[in-house]
């Protein structure tokens, strides 16, 4: 269990361009932090620098108050779960899990005890004598986690561990990992490109883009108050509707209609802005912004509609069933307290 700190960490590969530009984060002891972002944003690189698998070009990384820049991976007291599990194919599950202790010349008793305990936590008891090739993807992932647990490290690192699993398994494993964290309370840094994983598992989320941090916050903070356009469109599914408009007095003119803004939105009249409203914050009413229904997608509990407003297709999600049919005209009313206005040029939130 330990606190982590990244202080102005930078990374450059060889003599190429800088790929991580001054990242600083403080992670509290026992926190479950998710690094999320699109491919190439640098989240994996950052994780690997923490693990000691990549050199830190500039800045410092601290684990439990100690600068670890020059420490080898094995001396950092961390454990890592890889996307491809990285299980040793020629060793049984038991040997895989006990390998790190064996390297440290721990005695048989200790190894057996720790392996058995980890196996019990992860329901791996019946598989201890099997080889990785005999296991399914989900089982292998659990073995990889078991290997990490046996080490009893200060920090758990996860590098996109669920990417190779099918959708259903992913949902089940998400819950398992979260339960594991609640049980062991070990500081965890988890990397993924899937924002749903981030939202469901994290205590706090770090959204990264092009080697920089876009925003750090709890899932709900990021959902309710994204600080810029990138975060607004990255978090939440279906994605937020965003369209160009012009700021007016207490409203935004866009798509040939007037859209309400929350009080205190600091946009000057005539400023170009990006107006953002989540599909769940639009409701169908008797009057409002007019649009023509393009597609109706009932998913049982909710209905997702694509509505053409002023040439732009907006996504609307409503609870329950809807009687509108494609081609019909409907009226949309946004929840004024929950809309977002961003500066047209910089993408920053206007408040």
């Amino acid at each position: 269990m330990a606190a982590l700190s990244f202080r102005d960490v930078r990374k450059r590969f060889g003599s190429g361009a800088e790929v991580i530009h001054g990242v600083s984060i403080d992670i509290a002891d026992g926190e479950f932090v998710v690094l999320v972002g699109p491919s190439g944003c640098g989240k994996s690189t950052l994780l690997r620098m923490l693990a000691g698998l990549e050199e830190i070009t500039a800045g410092e990384i601290l684990i439990d108050g100690r600068v670890v820049n020059d420490l080898e991976s094995k001396d950092r007291d961390i454990a890592m779960v890889f996307q491809s599990y990285a299980l040793y194919p020629h060793m049984t599950v038991r040997e895989n899990m006990g390998f790190s202790l064996r390297l440290r010349r721990a005695d048989r008793g200790t190894i057996d005890a720790r392996v058995t305990q980890a196996a019990r936590i992860l329901n791996l008891d019946p598989m201890l004598e099997r080889f990785p090739r005999e296991l399914s993807g989900g089982q292998r992932q659990r073995v990889a986690m078991g290997r990490a647990i046996v080490r009893d490290p200060k920090v758990f690192l996860f590098d996109e561990p669920l990417s190779n699993l099918d959708a259903k398994l992913r949902v089940a494993m998400r819950a398992e990992i979260k339960q594991l964290h609640q049980r062991l309370q070990t500081t965890t840094v988890y990397v993924t490109h899937d924002q749903i994983e981030a939202m469901t598992m994290a205590d706090r989320i770090v959204v990264m883009h092009d080697g920089m941090i876009e925003q750090v916050g709890t899932p709900l903070e990021l959902f309710d108050r994204p600080s810029n356009l990138f975060v607004a469109q990255f978090i939440g599914s279906p994605a937020m509707n965003v369209f160009t408009g012009t700021a007016r007095d207490h409203a935004v003119e866009a798509l040939g209609a007037a859209w309400p803004v929350p009080d205190g939105a600091g946009a000057s009249t005539g400023q170009a802005v990006q107006y953002g409203v989540r599909p769940t914050d639009l409701r169908l009413a008797a009057s409002g912004v007019a649009g023509r229904v393009v597609v109706v997608e009932p998913t049982g509990a909710e209905t997702e509609l694509l509505v053409d407003v002023g040439g732009r297709q907006l996504t609307v999600v409503t609870h329950g069933r809807v009687s509108a049919r494609p081609g019909e005209v409907v009226y949309l009313v946004p929840d004024a307290a929950r809309v977002h206005v961003f500066d047209g040029a910089s993408g920053r939130r206007l408040q």
Binding site: R7, D8, R10, R12, E18, E55, I56, T57, A58, G59, E60, N69, D70, E72
Partner: protein, 285 residues
Amino acid sequence: MSAAALPAPAARKGLNRWQFWGRALIAPYVVVFAVFVLYPVCYGLWLARHPASYVKLIDDPIFFRTAINTIVFIVVGINLKMLAALALSGFFVQARWWIRILAVLFILPWAVPSIPTILSVRFMLNPEWGVINTTIFRLTGLDGPNWLNDPTLALGFSMLMHVWKSLPFWTLILVAGRLAIPGEQYEAASVDGATRWQKFRFITWPSLRGLYLTSTILSMIWTLGDFNSVYLLTGGGPADLTHVLATLGIRYLRLDQVDLAMASIVVALPLVLPLVYFMMKRLSK
């Protein structure tokens, strides 16, 4: 606390363990290379430094004959061998139980050492009691030719021996190349109505072309070094008329003319080195 704006490389105090062991583990081979390749090569080149050696070499009629032999050996032998390998590779990919057994037998010439087999052929060619001549006598009452006494025939048999020994290896390589071609391409061609020749021309050959070229070049290089096929069959005879480059150097060595031995090798380098360079380019991709 935070580093300067200009990114500085993380300081690695001295050699870390991984770099140390990297060097330690590659060292044995580097030593082997330095002591048994680099030094001999440099020493050999130094031995061949006198221009007088080359003059003597060119004046030696044996050298001229050897050069011709070598070129014939390479040009005729290699192409015969590679074409046969190409044809046979098509034969050996057929799925028949007896072809599979034949394939195992076919590897034998390459697998077994060449001395017993070359000597076996040498005895077959013996003019008095060799199996070939006795059979000819039995069938026709005539004496068969003195095979190894005729330089052309002798060289021919050396080439044949070489092909016999190395054909299996190259056939295997081309078989592997053929197996790498997806079967569906042939099936699609069948549906399109292609003949066997067309399938070869439009599917097999384009895929095999690169491998065939690489194999031919490599085979050329190695054939230049085939000492056994000539030495054990003809000894370079009759009258030093069937020497090739590989055996000529040894001949000079045994006559204590080391400078000529080295010179004969150096003279071949302009032919060998470009081929080697070509192979290295191909393989270290």
